[in-house]
């Protein structure tokens, strides 16, 4: 069984982004870029399934600018067998990415597609569900445990207030929550090995997908800043202030 894993190149988790002075977006020039953390978890899960012998091939897919090849090499250093870059410099929104992935699902016929639940740049939380809809496959979002056996995926997923257990017929779409696994560190030998793994580049046109954005960004601004209040010397003063000044207790 093949597994397809979608990986997105995003501004690194530790970078504090700045809004551009013309309010057209955030400034990502000369900023450290990394693989979306949830996608790293997705990649780790796919590689673990391969190590367990459940899966025979792990394919990493990234959609976007030519530099996404870096993200794909990282994916291959974690353990993907090969990579596919759907290369475009157009702005890609989740619906467009889902359509590109659907075209690759048709072509590769994976038994499972694993994606991060959301990207930490646009915070959309859409692509996995959209792909499931377009491919007409069952979905398990926010997965915290994945077991594959006998053509089924047994999934524990995180919901408000606790967990939910689903059984999905394969092929199926899974999106990862934070605590599904702890991704491994990539080692230098694996980085070197990843450089030799196959990486195909296709264009959205090759897949017959129109990626035109549906949502226009009109303006991006800084959020209202919250200013620091006062330090209080002790618990008694804190309680007095909460009662008399803030009136919240």
């Amino acid at each position: 069984m093949k597994v397809l894993v979608a990986v997105k190149r995003v501004v690194d988790y530790n970078v504090k982004v700045r809004v551009k002075s013309d309010n057209s977006g955030v400034d990502i020039a000369n900023v450290k870029m990394s693989m979306n953390p949830f996608d790293e978890i997705a990649m780790e899960e796919a590689v673990r399934l391969k190590e367990k012998g459940v899966v025979t091939e792990v394919i990493a897919v990234s959609c976007g600018v030519p530099q996404c090849t870096d993200t794909l090499r990282t994916a291959m250093a974690i353990g993907a067998d090969r990579g596919i870059l759907v290369e475009t410099t157009e702005e890609l929104q989740p619906l467009a990415v889902a359509k590109l992935l659907k075209a690759l699902v048709d072509k590769e016929q994976p038994g499972l597609v694993i994606l991060g639940k959301q990207a930490i740049d646009d915070d959309c939380n859409q692509t996995g569900q959209m792909l499931a809809a377009l491919a007409d496959l069952p979905q398990a979002t926010f997965a915290s445990k994945v077991d594959i056996a006998e053509g089924k995926a047994q999934i524990t997923r995180e919901v408000d207030g606790g967990s939910e257990y689903l059984s999905l017929s394969l092929p199926a779409i899974i999106t990862t929550d934070l605590r599904l696994n702890a991704p491994r560190y990539v080692t230098l030998p694996n980085i070197m090995k990843a450089k030799k793994k196959p990486l195909d580049i296709v264009k959205p046109e090759d897949l017959g997908v129109n990626v035109s954005p549906r949502i226009k960004t009109l303006r991006v601004v800084e959020p209202p800043q919250r200013s620091a209040g006062t330090k209080v010397p002790d618990v008694a003063t804190l309680v007095a202030k909460l009662k008399a000044e803030a009136k919240v207790i």
Partner: protein, 314 residues
């Protein structure tokens, strides 16, 4: 806009009652203009449908009842929404675990983009939403005929739960997916308010040191304040608190009247989840902790002393 807006809110409910997030979503829906209808898709959910009909501002409730809708599976709920979608200009969901699960599936089936986590309705097609963990606010315009939205509940006041008298229209179920089965769930039972709806939240960080200490120190304070309990990602990752207590970019987004952060340093991802709280109290022994930069009241102290003392004097 060529025709008047007609908005469908997909209710969050537990079959017996309507969840609070639905009320905030109705408020956002009403701001899109036009009539607001509410879909209650569930099993033995007549009570939830009746409760939806009472929500102020709702003009019609669509009620579908079927065993296959008991657990809100995305595949089945999506089919139900698609059956009525053509009547609506806007399909609006709360940005809860269940709303986030279903909404994109609906949007893709309709071949429209989705606007996630809206915090403001600027006009019927233009919305504000946070990006980059709330470090920037984007104003976005949907160019699609149907707007599919999820609503960040902290961005909108709840609609009044009573005062409305909408008609309840019963619809037929459209059938279920055979590819997915619900096998069970484990939902924590407690008497505390829901994290996202609580007026007061007490939240603990990694400084608590263990799950025993977390409960021992934080629970009395939460009890005294009638508060919900939250945690930082570090505390959850360390196993001190359950996963669904996590407040932050990738956990729950909260905006209570009072947020008490104990032993939480205040990583930007945590701040993204609580900085819209009305009053923030930080208790931390590190004077440099970033949490103090957003706290209305900061107490530089050892939480193992200060938190029990606070609980005892309240």
């Amino acid at each position: 806009m060529t025709s008047l807006a007609q908005v469908l809110v997909v209710a969050e409910h537990d079959n017996a009652s309507i969840k609070g997030a639905t009320l905030n979503t109705v408020t956002a829906a009403a701001q899109c203009g036009g009539d607001v209808h509410v879909l209650v898709a569930g099993a033995n959910a007549a009570a939830a449908a009746a409760a939806a009909a009472q929500i102020a501002g709702v003009t019609k409730v669509l009620h579908v009842d079927d065993a296959d809708l008991a657990h809100g599976l995305a595949e089945n709920v999506t089919a139900q929404i698609l059956a009525v979608a053509s009547n609506y200009s806007h399909l609006v969901f709360p940005a809860t675990a269940s709303g986030k699960n279903v909404a994109p599936r609906v949007a893709a089936k309709l071949d429209v983009g989705q606007v996630s986590d809206i915090t403001k309705v600027v006009s019927a097609d233009t919305f504000e939403r946070p990006i980059y963990a709330g470090n920037a606010i984007a104003t976005v315009q949907s160019t699609d005929a149907v707007k599919v939205l999820t609503v960040r509940t902290t961005g909108f006041d709840p609609a009044a739960a009573t005062g409305g008298s909408a008609a309840v229209e019963v619809l037929a179920a459209v059938g279920a997916s055979a590819a997915v089965s619900f096998m069970g769930s484990e939902i924590a039972k407690n008497d505390r308010p829901e994290l996202t709806a609580a007026k007061i939240i007490v939240s603990g960080g990694r400084a608590l040191g263990s799950s025993e200490k977390f409960m021992e120190v934080m629970t009395p304070l939460a009890d005294k304040l009638g508060a919900a309990m939250g945690a930082s990602r570090a505390a959850v990752d360390a196993g001190y608190a359950p996963n669904d207590w996590q407040v932050g970019q990738t956990g729950k987004i909260v905006a209570p009247q009072l947020y008490v952060a104990c032993g939480i340093s205040g990583a930007i991802q945590h701040l993204a989840g609580m900085k819209d709280s009305k009053v923030i109290v930080a208790i931390n022994k590190d004077p440099e902790a970033p949490i103090f930069s957003v706290a209305d009241y900061g107490l530089e102290a050892d939480l193992f002393v200060a938190v029990p003392e606070l609980a005892s004097v309240l």
